[in-house]
Symmetry: C2
Subunit: 273 residues, 2 copies
């Protein structure tokens, strides 16, 4: 009888099956995915039962997905994959603002807000804070008429799109910098909130002793023609979850003191080279 | 401004998040999965659009899964992962019968069949073949009263469980070896068949120029107390798809000539040590 077929021979057969793909990028992505999935199975000595647990996990996640719920994005978030995709795509230089995840609650087309105006357009804003600063290039020039798209949870811990009792677009807005690159954004003090825990991702977090909280933050997407758009958050130093963000988005350079009520934060964009 | 957070620091944060898991095996499996997913993203420089394509692929696969369709198993099969799990779990020695995938059509509790009886209990069997041989240990002893669970597509290319017009259990059966370890299984000549192509896995195969055929085969699950169960197929040498099995299950040692009508094949089991 012939010697047993090796794991390497098997991997090679699967990799070669993509040799006739007309899209070479698709073939490369699939080859890399296959090589890493095979290495994972071999490294862990994955049992049939564990493999089936994985199939059942993915199936349950798929059945939960609809127009309002995306359990696969939540899985990607909680395994640090979403954050890594931003790190790989935003390519921040050492001087530029560090990126973090876009998250599922960004909505294009938020209303324009004036300098110093509040994003909070409903009645829920007892406790407001003014975030002001400069948008500049990593070479030092201030960027006039740069765009800052800002969004955040309400004090109840929900985004406007998550709660039909909240006025649409009432906790988001688009600001522009002045001739000196200055901006001023008023908002409510953000609060910590939990990601959805009623699905398989919640079970995974519970089974591994992980928390489901995101530390309080305000989202910013800062863009200027000819520069790399920065997608990031500004986090509240007072949050108890800065060291246990469920989606691994916190960076020390993004943490500020919201309790000060008036705080300064500059955004630094890399030119597209 | 501080130096940009590195991909390694980020990976380390995600790996450490599993440090408080009460099930150390679960933590190890997740750490290995995370390390490989991160390496995949970095190695490919995965774009946001490609990441979103992946999320949409998984979502479409999830929505297709029900009691009769399992698109995630099909995905695992077509990426060679299911076959690798069998290779890792069956641990065949060089002398033992090579394993292949169980597949989704195994049904426990098939009827007992006598020596030489046909698994085909309906009227569809024009062209039959007799497979006979010995079940023995990899140390050479014949194994008396070993069990051979056999199943196969009908000449129409469907398993009994796939087609409500086929009598249940009419193309499967359980045989026993005699005192000399001999068995004799009669069956119809198997035919090539296609895996389901109407979902995202079918689109992936089409987009990469791959075929969706499985080469003709008869399934065997051979077991004996104290020995590792062998889950395998016997393939027909006449199939045009031996080099392009959609699930990468073919091994040279498992290919026989069904056209001979009477063929010999021995199964060799490893003792559990």
């Amino acid at each position: 009888m012939s010697p047993a077929f090796t794991n390497d021979q098997h991997l090679n057969d699967v990799l070669e099956s993509f040799d006739h793909a007309t899209n070479p990028r698709l073939a490369d992505v699939l080859r890399s995915l296959v090589a890493h999935l095979h290495a994972f199975v071999i490294e862990t000595g994955l049992t049939r039962e564990e493999w089936m647990t994985g199939i059942e996990f993915l199936t349950a996640a798929g059945h939960l997905c609809d127009d309002r719920r995306q359990e696969f994005i939540l899985l990607s978030d909680t395994l640090g994959v979403s954050m890594l995709v931003e790190m790989v795509n935003q390519h921040a230089s050492d001087g530029a603002t560090e990126p973090t995840v876009l998250g599922p609650f960004y909505v294009p087309g938020a209303p324009a807000r004036a300098m110093g105006e509040s994003i909070a357009q409903d009645d829920s804003h007892d406790d407001e804070v003014l975030i002001s600063g400069v948008v500049r290039s990593s070479r030092g020039e201030p960027l006039a008429d740069a765009s800052l798209d800002v969004w955040q949870v309400t004090p109840k811990g929900l985004y406007d799109v998550q709660d039909s009792t909240i006025t649409p677009m009432s906790h988001r807005g688009i600001y522009r910098t002045d001739a000196d690159g200055r901006f001023a954004v008023r908002t409510t003090i953000p609060v910590d909130y939990q990601i959805p825990t009623d699905g398989p991702v919640g079970k995974m977090l519970a089974a591994t002793g992980r928390l489901s909280w995101r530390p309080a933050h305000t989202h910013f997407m800062v863009s200027y023609p000819g520069y790399r758009t920065v997608i990031t958050h500004v986090f509240d130093a007072a949050s108890p979850h800065l060291k246990s963000d469920a989606v691994f988005g916190v960076r020390d350079s993004l943490v500020v003191d919201f309790a000060a009520k008036e705080l300064s934060f500059d955004f630094v964009l890399d030119p597209i080279t």
